[in-house]
Amino acid sequence: MIWLVGAVLVWLGAWALNVRLAASAFGRTRAGRLAVATLFGITLLVLWEGLVRGLAVSPIILPGPSVIGPKIAASLPTLWADFVQTVVKGALSGFAIGTAAAFVAAIAIDRSPFLQKGLLPIGNFVSALPIVGLAPVLVMWFGFDWHSKAAVVVVMVFFPLLVNMVAGLQATDPLHRDLMATYSASYPQRLMKLRLPAAMPFFFNGLKIAATLALIGAIVAEFFGSPIVGMGFRISTEVGRLGLDMVWATIAVAALSGSALYGLIALIESRVTFWHPSQRK
């Protein structure tokens, strides 16, 4: 009971503090925004711990953060092996191949109005389909190891990236194109100096969507068969053994990798598209 009341009190206190912070001048600064968000995250963890202890929830249903934390520390080698297998070998290699393929394909499509009209509606449609469903097929084709996971990721990230990239290549201003024409710029020059830079905000938008999809694809593909290492494998076997602390530890790693990948892309984006209105401070 004391845990429950304590957790709720901490939550209320932190919330009140957050309200004050958000209204103050500090809340308008970058550090202030970060502080409010962090405080909210911490209160969620406290609330979770308090509820688990206060209501005496069995660790088989929901372990608290205080159980999960040590579990992470204790099983670092396993988690690292899973991370390398699923994220580095499966998701990242597939992500890189899919991105490169979509990039090249978009430039090729952009040269032909016929292909644009024909491929874009289909690409739009395909990117709304549950492509995850291809996972079992690709596992059958490429075997249980990471190659099949990378293949799933390639297919999953290709279409959203293609659609975004093609839209980006068309996003140039007529004025800019006219200027390029008066300079009598050749096609490669126009591409390198005008169209590709103009497409970058769209491209990064696609990359951000694809980053999440890549991890989902790599993990789902492991449900259809995998070697005895990998996040998807770990989750499905540990759930079967009711080792929920290990499941949560793996989820924490997955969340961390997903956020890190997203953050990395956002960082590169702010360097590459510093001129775009959404990036101006």
Partner: protein
């Protein structure tokens, strides 16, 4: 508009079919050659091609084989049969709709709170973004165990939660944008009328957000379907298109897998078309320019 697109789209579709047949011949040929060498005979290319078109367990079934299997699953069974794709499609559809409704409610609710209270924006919005970088599939098996342990026998609930988790985010982002879309002049006008917060919300912000809302629904419904299928995968679920795919994969029946995959694609297409129609109707009724 439609006619000048029809030709390119048809051409691309034809090219896809041609590639598909070629790939089917190429990928399935190995099996034919293996059979022949085991039987001690040789086959010519002209004999190989027909045999790649009708294998019981093809590596890549050609389109007509998938179509036949799909037709068998849809039309040749009673709709209530466990082998009917209509039945499994309906299970998935039901899960999708529940998750979609839940996702819309959550997304709109959070967006309203975020637009109204600055503290909500600062504290919840970053975590909403982070929540989407967590691969939900990692949570799927666990949501299922947990709800089982808590005595929720209904398989729909965990599926709906997963599907809502994926579909609330596009709605949230668009609604925040939409509720903020009225410009300062319009807000000023309402404050000269002495409108209350509630009146401003109902008469200005909410109507102004509708185009954003409907645009997000198309993304959300696709996400909800993906979520439902993922929710059916790792769980030993026995109903639904995702479960069909898993069964096809585990029992080495590629045709079942492909039929389920295409059933899911058709379902996705249908849902998107329906959402688009609803959007058109709503926009027409609200007097938006077509």
């Amino acid at each position: 508009m439609m006619t000048d697109r029809a030709l390119p789209v048809l051409t691309v579709l034809l090219a896809i079919f041609a590639l598909w047949y070629a790939a089917a011949v190429w990928m399935n040929a190995k099996w034919v050659y293996d059979q022949a060498s085991r039987a001690g005979t040789t086959v010519t290319l002209a004999e190989v091609i027909p045999q790649t078109m009708a294998q019981p367990r093809p590596l890549l079934p050609p389109p007509h084989q998938v179509a036949t299997e799909l037709w068998k699953g849809v039309a040749a069974q009673a709709v209530t049969s466990k082998r009917s794709l209509v039945y499994h499609g309906y299970v998935t559809f039901r899960g999708t709709m529940m998750g979609f409704a839940l996702g819309i409610a959550l997304g709109v609710g959070l967006a309203m709170a975020i637009v109204r209270f600055r503290v909500m924006e600062l504290s919840v919005m970053p975590w909403a973004i982070i929540s989407q970088t967590i691969p939900i599939v990692a949570l799927a098996p666990m949501i299922l165990t947990v709800s089982n342990q808590m005595g929720i026998d209904n398989r729909e609930v965990p599926k709906a939660i997963i599907s809502a988790y994926l579909s609330f985010f596009p709605v949230l982002v668009s609604m925040v944008k939409g509720l903020r879309s009225p410009d300062q002049m319009q807000l000023d006008l309402l404050s000269t009328y002495g409108a209350s917060q509630g009146q401003t919300f109902w008469k200005l912000r909410l109507p102004a957000s509708m185009p954003y809302f409907f645009a997000s629904l198309k993304v959300a419904i696709a996400a909800a379907l993906v979520g439902t299928i993922i929710g059916e995968l790792p769980t030993g679920a026995i109903e639904g298109l995702g479960a069909r795919m898993l069964i096809g994969s585990q029992f080495g029946e590629p045709l079942i897998m492909w039929a389920a995959l295409f059933a899911a694609a058709i379902l996705a297409g249908g849902l998107i078309v329906i959402v688009g129609l609803i959007e058109r109707m709503a926009r027409a009724r609200m007097g938006a320019p077509a």
